[in-house]
């Protein structure tokens, strides 16, 4: 199983640790080999020098052999010396030398097993004798083991120190990330200030910029939601306040005044009911694109059918033209809500016997519906306000009940489906509402 550190610091420490350990180990192995070779060479040179020195002394003093054999035991680890004849008979040996012969059959370095120990030997021929110097291998091995232990200790200490340094350095290097994390953690919801890129981390600047874009989109979405909540509160609580006030007036007033108050309360309750219906319709749609989509013309015909009774009562003439609108690339339920609101409003605002025009068209990557009535219409300022805050048709500055949330919902829903809504003056007075969606099959 592979180990995945959960933090950046852990990841950096792991990989730097593995890398540094490998590096230190390789260095130690190389150093150990190098030291071993050098030490062996130096010791061999000492061995050879000793043998040659004895040989040169033999020339000058023929009694040296006797002297040598009386030299007694050499200290352990020291160099032993043996003088032998050319046929291998031992003439003299120093103390510490084994009883077995040490001399090699020819001059030079070699190894021998003698007296139960391994020896490193050097033999040199001087006239009729061979001089051999020898040293126990065990001494050399001990020395090299000691060197290895020293290296290991140095390596461990060095590795530990490096890792500590790396840990500290990684912490310092990642400080900008920690500061960014703190900034994010200390942020309140809806805070306006953008995140600042931490000092000394150019690499983070792009990420911070992206984060800021995301945050600003979040803020805008939050502001839209708040505005909608405010509008909803206004649309629901104002008629409720009107109902309550009028009923209280009806209780303390008499005659015509009380009657008027009751009738206004009823109007207000109708408006409240209408707003609630629209809200519930919106709540039922979750806005997911879960189907193939329904052609715009089919939706419009369904909705006109729904409104058939109201259309009949008012004696409206409906003129519906489809100029190849196609299918909107948006959740059908949401498209239906927008269309229903606009068609309902148009029907309600049409004078008796008027014409209601619905033109469906498609061009390029877009499909559109234009719903036009012959009602009183809106002034340019009213049209602007109607979409700005989603309020509808105030005459003389006062709202004439009935529209409530209509356009507020249309504007919100259109934004959610990636479409747009615009209002314009109708060709024959009235109001024209233009709805546009991206077209299915082109996105």
């Amino acid at each position: 199983m592979r180990y995945h550190p959960s933090s950046l610091r852990g990841r950096l420490l792991l990989w730097l640790g593995v890398g540094l350990s490998a590096l230190w180990l390789a260095l130690a192995l190389w150093l150990h080999g190098e030291v071993r070779d050098r030490v062996a060479t130096v010791l061999d040179q000492r061995l050879a020098a000793s043998a040659r020195m004895v040989a040169s002394l033999l020339d000058a003093d023929s009694d040296l052999a006797a002297t040598l054999s009386g030299a007694g035991a050499l200290p352990s680890g020291g160099i032993a010396c043996e003088i032998s004849g050319l046929r291998g008979e031992v003439l003299a040996r120093s103390g510490g030398a084994p009883d077995d012969a040490l001399a090699l059959p020819r001059d030079g370095f070699g190894e021998r097993l003698a007296g139960g120990h391994r020896w490193r030997v050097y033999t040199v021929t001087q006239g009729a004798v061979r001089v051999t110097s020898a040293e126990r291998m065990a001494g050399r091995t001990d020395f090299m083991r000691h060197v290895a232990w020293l290296l290991l200790a140095a390596l461990s200490a060095g590795l530990l120190a490096s890792l500590t340094l790396v840990y500290w350095a990684v912490g310092r290097a990642l400080a900008p990330l920690s500061s960014l994390r703190r900034q994010l953690a200390e942020r309140d919801a809806g805070e306006q200030r953008p995140l600042s890129a931490p000092v000394g981390a150019v690499e983070l600047a792009a990420m911070v910029a992206t984060l800021n874009q995301l945050l600003s989109r979040e803020r805008a979405a939050l502001a839209r939601e708040r505005q909608l909540t405010d509008d909803l509160a206004h649309e629901l609580r104002t008629p409720l306040a009107a109902i309550r006030t009028q009923l209280q007036v009806a209780k303390i007033a008499h005659g015509e005044r009380a009657e008027h108050a009751r009738s206004v309360a009823e109007q207000a309750s109708q408006r409240l009911g209408h707003s609630l219906d629209q809200l519930l319709a919106l709540a039922r749609e979750d806005g997911t694109l879960d189907d193939e989509g329904v052609p715009l013309v089919v939706l419009v015909d369904e909705l006109l059918e729904e409104q058939a009774q109201a259309i009949g009562q008012r004696g409206l003439r409906v003129c519906r033209r489809d100029q190849g609108a196609g299918t909107p690339a948006a959740p059908t339920g949401l498209v239906r809500i927008s269309l229903r609101n606009v068609i309902e409003n148009a029907v309600r605002h049409s004078p008796e016997g008027a014409r209601l025009t619905v033109v469906l068209s498609g061009s390029g990557a877009e499909c559109a519906a234009r719903i036009e009535d012959q009602g009183a219409g809106m002034s340019p300022q009213q049209r602007h306000q109607a979409l700005e805050r989603g309020w509808h048709n105030r005459e003389g500055g006062r709202r004439e009940g009935g529209q409530g949330l209509g356009l507020a919902i249309v504007a919100t829903v259109m934004a959610r489906t990636g479409g747009t809504v615009t209002l314009s003056a109708g060709a024959e007075g009235g109001l024209a509402v233009n709805l546009r969606w991206p077209r299915a099959g082109t996105v």
């Binding site: 306040a241 006030t245 309360a265 207000a268 408006r271 709202r399 009940g401």
Partner: protein
Amino acid sequence: MHLLLVEDDTLLGDGVQAGLQLHGFSVAWVGDAAAADGALGSADFDAVILDLGLPDEDGLALLGRWRRHGRLEPVLLLTARDGVTHRVRGLNAGADDYLIKPFDLEELVARLHALLRRAEGRADPVIEYGRLRFDPARRQLWMDDQLVTLPRRERALLQALLGSRGRVLTADELADRVYGWTDGVESNALAVHIHNLRRKLGDSLIETVRGEGYRLGAPP
């Protein structure tokens, strides 16, 4: 008491105006910020009831503008927005009180009386003047512990004079307070009401200031 109601919703505005009139206030009702500006510029009001959601300007912006221009009328906000931040923002913008829709008519009336009491610098809800004791909230008047019943207009007239603290009120100002804007006023109606008040409460209570108007006279 003369109130300015700024409310764009016809159904609610109609109810509040009727309800307050039934409680003895005279109410001028306008539907947008521009009309409210005009009304405040042309008449004196004892208090303003301001809806925050107006079609042409945000109610808070309007209130802020009034306060910056030194308008001191007590303002009660009506709003559907009930968050703490909204209430705090409203009060900081210069509102004196705050009522969230839907509200109770009785509560609106009580708060208005409290606002007016504070504006007139009184802690006691009952106004005492010599032997007279007047309770605006209960709309009751006593003369020496004897309950005096006054018609609505005479009561409004007396309240305007008691609240004026000796200032001279013009006939127009008094008419505003007694009739509001919607009721038709006949030219000598005010004089008749003053005559009736003098007859019931003593001649000295209301002084005529020739060429200017009327003033609260010596306490009975």
